[in-house]
């Protein structure tokens, strides 16, 4: 059964009086546990498509069904709850809150989803475990400013896992990482995908990285085309 269904999803922007079409009527079906890479040049609409799937950008037309729910028919509060509980988002830039430690950054989504209710120590333990999983056990109390770019990215990945999401969406997650760290992060994604059956949708402009995906979607001028399906 399909976990995520995109129906004729489109997004237009008005820029200096002219209409720009970022994504043109993309339809796609994603199964639970799929590992999908969206590739394409800059400005091809990759991030816009991912943002619409991640419930953080309202489409101009079309629908996104997440586990059978038309997410954009939900109200603002319910949509926030959906984002908190169903989706883990990894941004293409450093996305940690600078005032909080690595562990606190991980606890943030649980605070918003209500899973940290009554200050349960289970959330804290979970955060420590995830930091261990991404190899940052000794950086639990470090602030983002004390972490390297790669370490920050790994904390952001761990944060995306905190609410046990059904899908993780990552926008150029290895964009500013060196080759070695890039490989580590991708292997980590694959490991989590296989061990936890979590759906991964990754945006990258690197065809080489995209080769580890089960499915590859190529974006060109806002249009999506599935180019390879790995068995």
């Amino acid at each position: 059964m399909e976990q995520i269904v995109l129906q004729e999803l489109a997004k237009d922007y008005i820029l200096e009086g002219s209409r720009i079409t970022a994504v043109q009527e993309v339809s796609l079906e994603i199964r639970k546990g799929d590992f999908i890479c969206i590739v394409g040049h800059s400005g091809s609409g990759k991030t816009t498509l991912l943002s619409m799937v991640g419930c953080i950008l309202k489409p101009s037309s079309g629908k996104v069904f997440f586990e059978g729910t038309d997410v954009y028919s939900l109200g603002e509060e319910a949509l926030s709850e959906y984002r908190a509980r169903k989706v883990g988002y990894v941004f293409q830039f450093a996305s940690l809150l600078p005032a909080l430690t690595a562990k606190e950054n991980l606890l943030l989504p649980t605070l918003f989803s209500g899973m940290n209710g009554n200050g349960s120590s289970s959330a804290e333990k979970k955060a420590t475990d995830y930091l261990e999983l991404v190899g940052l056990k000794d950086k639990v109390n470090a602030y983002p400013g004390q972490l390297s770019g790669g370490q920050q990215r790994r904390v952001a990945i761990a944060r995306a896992l905190m609410n046990d999401p059904s899908a993780i969406l990552a926008d150029e997650p290895t964009g500013d990482l060196d080759e070695e760290t890039e490989g580590e992060v991708m292997n980590l994604f694959r490991k989590i995908n296989r061990e936890n059956n979590i759906t991964f949708i990754l945006v990258t402009h690197s065809s080489e990285l995209a080769n580890i995906a089960d499915r590859k979607i190529k974006m060109l001028h806002g249009l999506a085309e599935e180019i390879v399906t790995v068995a």
Partner: protein, 395 residues
């Protein structure tokens, strides 16, 4: 601290410690002005009211044109003299509705010329008829003053320590044998002698400007059932040389001066409040602009609009509370410290009751926090309307 929105708010404020300190200090200064102003106005106002009530007379008869001077002497401990003919006592006694009465004569000590004591108002009172000084003396001296004996006001004794010391006043040696209890009036700063000793002073010293047939003021108790206002009017109609002050009107001029000070404080506080609102608005607009990305990230990872608003409101409330508490404490300290520097306060027994202090503290807290909220309101409303990706894209 347990991880919560509150702890996040505290950490956010700590991260920009200088900016946080600037806001806290500005709110604190505003609140301290407010607390100081309110303390000043309340303490002076209530002291004047209490002091006029404590004098124990319904009416005060003074020479024509001496109303303000008399108030200065009786309430503000100013050293001033004024005189009228003694036969006015009989004229006042004859007015319908006048009950008990007594009179006092005031002298100003001149240190180095006539007197060994520092400048002070010397009050000669009639021991037979007096009901102004005696009630405050009952606990410390259980007899009448003898020849060349004097009493000392509560504050004067505290400042000069003259009890049981021989001092010269108008070339006559006096011994201070008793101290008045604290009255909260000008009596606290005066020295008291009997009017028999006044006669000796007049004959032995040319420094005393008073004549034997002169007095300064007559204190009148109105008979039961008579309206003090009508009795006062009758006295003034019958005796042209005097003015009459009703108890309620004693210190009226001081209260009207206080009204002007009140206005100055109010204008200052309003201007400072507007400035603080503007400062809070500017800083919070800057904070929101600077944290657009953070807000977007928080929204993208599941924060509801209400979470973000709560977070900012907590930051605003924390700033307002800390600033207001610091300002209230500083304002109270300032009023205690400066109370001796203001002539108006120094000369009055200006103390606030616990309830008044609590009211002022609550006022300070409400105003401080309120200003922070008003200043940050537009920024908070703006945050609520932001969409996650639009925020992230604006960075």
């Amino acid at each position: 601290m347990k991880f919560s929105l509150f702890s996040v708010a505290v950490k956010n404020l700590k991260r920009k410690s200088f900016r946080t300190a600037v806001l806290i200090v500005s709110i604190g200064l505003l609140v301290s002005i407010l607390v100081f102003g309110a303390s000043f106005i309340l303490s002076v106002g209530s002291s004047i009211e209490k002091a006029s009530n404590r004098l124990g007379a319904d009416l005060l008869v003074v020479p024509s044109g001496a109303v303000d001077v008399a108030s200065d002497v009786l309430l503000a401990s100013k050293i001033k003299v004024f005189y009228m003919d003694k036969d006015i006592i009989q004229k006042v006694e004859k007015v319908k509705g006048v009950g008990k009465l007594t009179w006092e004569t005031y002298l100003a000590s001149a240190p180095g010329q006539c007197c060994s004591i520092p400048p002070a108002e010397i009050v000669a009172f009639n021991q037979k008829t007096d009901f102004i000084v005696t009630p405050w003396l009952r606990k410390s001296l259980h007899r009448k003053l003898k020849r060349n004996e004097a009493l000392i006001g509560y504050t004067s004794n505290k400042n000069l320590g003259l009890l049981n010391v021989d001092s010269t006043m108008f070339n006559i040696k006096f011994k201070f044998v008793g101290v008045l209890e604290k009255t909260g009036t000008g009596l606290d700063n005066a020295i008291f002698i009997s009017d028999k000793d006044l006669k000796n002073i007049i004959t032995s010293s040319s420094m005393a400007k008073v004549k034997p047939n002169q007095i300064s003021a007559i204190f009148v108790k109105v008979r039961k059932g008579y309206d003090p206002k009508i009795v006062a009017r009758d006295i003034m109609n019958d005796i042209m040389q005097v003015d009459v002050i009703q108890r309620a009107n004693i210190g009226k001029r001081m209260l009207s001066t206080l009204g002007d000070i009140n206005k100055i404080f109010l204008i200052t506080i309003v201007m400072a409040s507007v400035l603080s609102i503007f400062l809070t608005w500017t800083i919070f607009s800057a904070i929101v602009n600077e944290r657009f990305r953070e807000i977007g990230i928080m929204k993208a990872i599941g924060a509801k609009g209400s979470h973000i608003v709560k977070l900012f409101v907590m930051e605003v409330l924390l700033l307002g509370l800390i600033g207001s508490l610091a300002g209230t404490a500083f304002g109270m300290y300032l009023s205690a410290l400066l109370s001796k520097s203001f002539v108006l306060l120094r000369n009055l027994s200006a103390t606030l009751t616990l309830a008044q202090r609590v009211d002022i503290c609550v006022l300070g807290l409400v105003v401080g926090v309120g200003i922070c909220i008003v200043g940050a309101l537009s920024s908070i409303i703006r945050i609520k309307k932001l969409e996650p990706l639009s925020v992230l894209k604006e960075v």
